[in-house]
């Protein structure tokens, strides 16, 4: 049975490694394009959020390519993501597609059962081996992204795209640890060479928000590369590996992770509100404490956790004198619109910084 899964950022790479390691036949979800979005918009309820629309559109494309089963994560809410699977199932079935849907949800036993069923020759040694290698790839992908966000300042969007695509492909094809290590090394060297002799960046910005929109460049219209191009060094608060550690691993062990962030948020928000709402508030506070110049919040239009967070960020902004820009994304968002708002925000931060310097010198 050919299996597909939702695309988000470069998540297809570690997932391919994992599933292929279990000898499960896969149909990798095609890259997100305008067509994906159009399909999603056409068949989703209008008020669904952008991630749902993209995931649904992408499922349709994968089914067209011959996928016979879909696996995806579930959840207990209150973010709508926890119901994506069931709703997508109803909609796709109503459209006449035939497939099986597997929702990965605790308890762990039910997740294992799914893989036992899908894998023709399930064995634990193989599972652990593939899981570890997939995890290594995930970490490396995040590592190169972090490095670029921080050091790839003033590089053009196209330069970054080219470089990143090239290296992601290498990671995708990598067969062992050693290859991964040299990819890591070479990538950083190339970035350093590119930026050598360039102006250094003046501004440091934190990136927070909903995990899908932050991780998927198609959804956020390449926000981070645009910012790099404008000369901003970025720290991204949200990564899949971090999310997995905080939610799946610590969650399963019932220990509270992420204590620092929750504590930082406490003055403003005392309760988790699903998705990454609490984290958005906490991380913004931490960026404020660390003297960042600004924070950008990415949120799909209508995202409930991020709406709650946004309403609290106004106060954080006031308390820390930390400008926060919220970019709300939906199918109508345009690249030019985003670019204009980013440029205006960067101007504002630059002015603020110069002003501070002046008062300091006086």
């Amino acid at each position: 049975m050919k299996v597909t899964f939702p695309q988000m950022g470069s998540l297809n790479i570690p997932l391919e490694t994992l599933l292929q390691g279990l000898n499960i036949e896969i149909v990798s979800p095609p890259p997100l394009t305008k067509r994906t979005l159009n399909l999603g918009v056409k068949y989703s309820p209008e008020s669904a959020c952008l991630p749902f629309k993209l995931v649904l559109g992408n499922f349709i494309e994968a089914l067209e390519l011959g996928a016979e089963a879909i696996i995806m994560a579930g959840g207990n809410g209150p973010c709508r993501f926890g119901h994506f699977g069931e709703l997508a199932n109803d909609i796709l079935t109503d459209l006449g597609y035939e497939f099986e849907l597997y929702i990965l949800e605790p308890p762990v036993k039910s997740i294992v059962d799914i893989f036992v069923k899908l894998s023709p020759n399930f064995n634990w040694v193989q599972v652990i081996k593939s899981l570890r290698f997939a995890w290594k790839k995930l970490i490396l992908i995040e590592e190169i992204k972090k490095y670029r966000l921080k050091h790839g300042v003033f590089l053009s969007k196209n330069q970054i795209n080219k470089l990143e695509d090239e290296y992601l492909q290498l990671i995708r094809e990598a067969k062992n640890k050693e290859e991964l290590a040299s990819i890591d090394h070479n990538y950083k060297k190339e970035i350093d060479e590119f930026t050598d002799g360039q102006q250094t960046s003046l501004l440091k910005v934190g990136l927070v928000g909903d995990i899908y929109t932050v991780s998927e460049p198609f959804a956020n219209l390449n926000v981070s590369k645009r910012l790099n191009e404008l000369g901003v060094a970025i720290d991204r608060a949200v990564f899949v590996s971090k999310w997995v550690k905080d939610n799946l691993i610590c969650g399963a062990l019932n220990i509270s992770s992420n204590r620092k962030v929750i504590k930082a948020a406490k003055r403003y928000l005392q309760e988790g509100v699903g998705g990454l709402g609490l984290e958005t508030v906490g991380e913004t506070v931490l960026y404020g404490e660390q003297g960042y110049d600004g924070v950008i919040q990415l949120a799909p239009f209508g995202c409930m956790p991020e709406i709650v967070a946004k309403s609290l960020l106004t106060e954080v902004e006031r308390d820390f004198g930390l400008p926060v820009l919220t970019l709300t994304l939906d199918e109508h968002a345009s690249a030019t619109g985003v670019q204009t708002r980013l440029e205006a925000f960067v101007d504002l931060l630059t002015q603020k910084k110069n002003l501070n310097k002046k008062t300091f010198l006086n």
Binding site: P45, E86, I91, C303, K310
Partner: protein
């Protein structure tokens, strides 16, 4: 002078008001409710709240502003889980925080966290925590709560008989209400399904229930069903919705579709409501399965005009009447 506790007349007011009101008055406080929703309250709320929030949340901000200068405390419980299983939408979870950080110069906010997933004992703790603001007398707190609970049961029984929240509250106070629930057998039956703070708020729902009754239709709602009846529908969902109100609405829809007692189903939803992207689709699919049940979604937003809604209601009822004849 007794302590004045303000309760905003929206959101959970429409579900729990009698419980809180009785509890607080038994403990000697004066309960002050914000005025009925009005243009002014809506506009005030819209001005203060983040753009993307749903209408009910904006409205809530407006109601708090309406109370602000009239009371010593404002009661905004944080509803996390009341039935011990399901939770509420993220905006309910963050409600007291949103209010406190958005609105300036508020009186003290009483915001107990109600999360009964931790067991029954939790409820007693919350009751004590809230009651102790008014008295340290344990016994008095418990007897007040007992009174409040039985009063609350009466209220729920009235809802089950088919009275609206407004009517039930009046009846509880001993006032007369002028409705005849014993409709004739032949009259149309319409299910009006949506969150109680939308369907029962006369302003925001443009009095939809009364209007339908006026057009000769019998109206049924989610509140008229017992928990048992709703629970029976659970197996039809691959996974029960994790939002309490949304789950009730969907199950009520399934119930009325199953019994076939209704001619039409109206889903009333608020613009900007997150969970409803799912609720609306599920109700639509349920009604689609039943040829003789017509389905309509009415979306309410801050600009909803009475005229538009009334026209749609009339057209819907006309259509149902026509279908009946054939």
């Amino acid at each position: 002078m007794s302590v004045r506790i303000g309760i905003p007349k929206t959101l959970s007011y429409y579900v729990y008001y009698p419980l809180w009101e009785k509890f607080f008055t038994e403990l000697g406080a004066e309960v002050v409710v914000s005025q009925n929703t009005s243009r002014r309250i809506v506009d005030d709320g819209v001005k203060e709240t983040v753009n993307d929030a749903c209408v009910p949340i904006k409205l809530f901000h407006g109601h708090v502003l309406n109370l602000k200068d009239k009371v010593d405390y404002i009661f905004i419980p944080r509803l996390v889980s009341v039935n011990g299983e399901q939770i509420y939408c993220p905006k309910f979870l963050g409600l007291p925080d949103m209010i406190k950080s958005t609105l300036r110069g508020l009186p003290e906010v009483i915001a107990p966290k109600i999360d009964l997933r931790k067991g029954r004992f939790e409820l007693l703790k919350i009751v004590y925590q809230v009651g102790s603001i008014l008295t340290k007398n344990l016994l008095q707190i418990y007897s007040a709560f007992k009174e409040a609970k039985s009063y609350f049961e009466d209220f729920n029984n009235l809802l089950k008989e088919g009275y609206t929240v407004e009517e039930s509250l009046k009846l509880l106070e001993g006032e007369e209400v002028n409705v005849d629930l014993g409709q004739e057998e032949s009259s149309l039956k319409v299910a009006v399904l949506g969150y109680p703070y939308i369907t029962y708020d006369p302003y925001i729902s443009v009095n939809m229930i009364q209007k339908l009754r006026g057009l000769g239709a019998e109206v049924v709602t989610t509140d008229m069903l017992t928990h048992r009846q709703l629970d029976k529908q659970k197996p039809k969902l691959k996974k029960d919705l994790f939002w309490t109100f949304s789950g009730e609405v969907v199950k009520a829809g399934y119930h009325y579709c199953e019994t076939g007692e209704i001619d039409g189903l109206i889903h009333v939803t608020a613009f900007g409501c997150g969970p409803d992207f799912m609720v609306d689709k599920l109700l639509e699919l349920a009604a689609k399965d039943k040829e003789d049940i017509a389905f309509m979604t009415l979306t309410i937003d801050e600009h909803t005009g009475e005229a538009g809604i009334v026209t749609r209601l009339e057209a819907f009822v006309d259509m149902l009447n026509l279908r009946r004849k054939h």
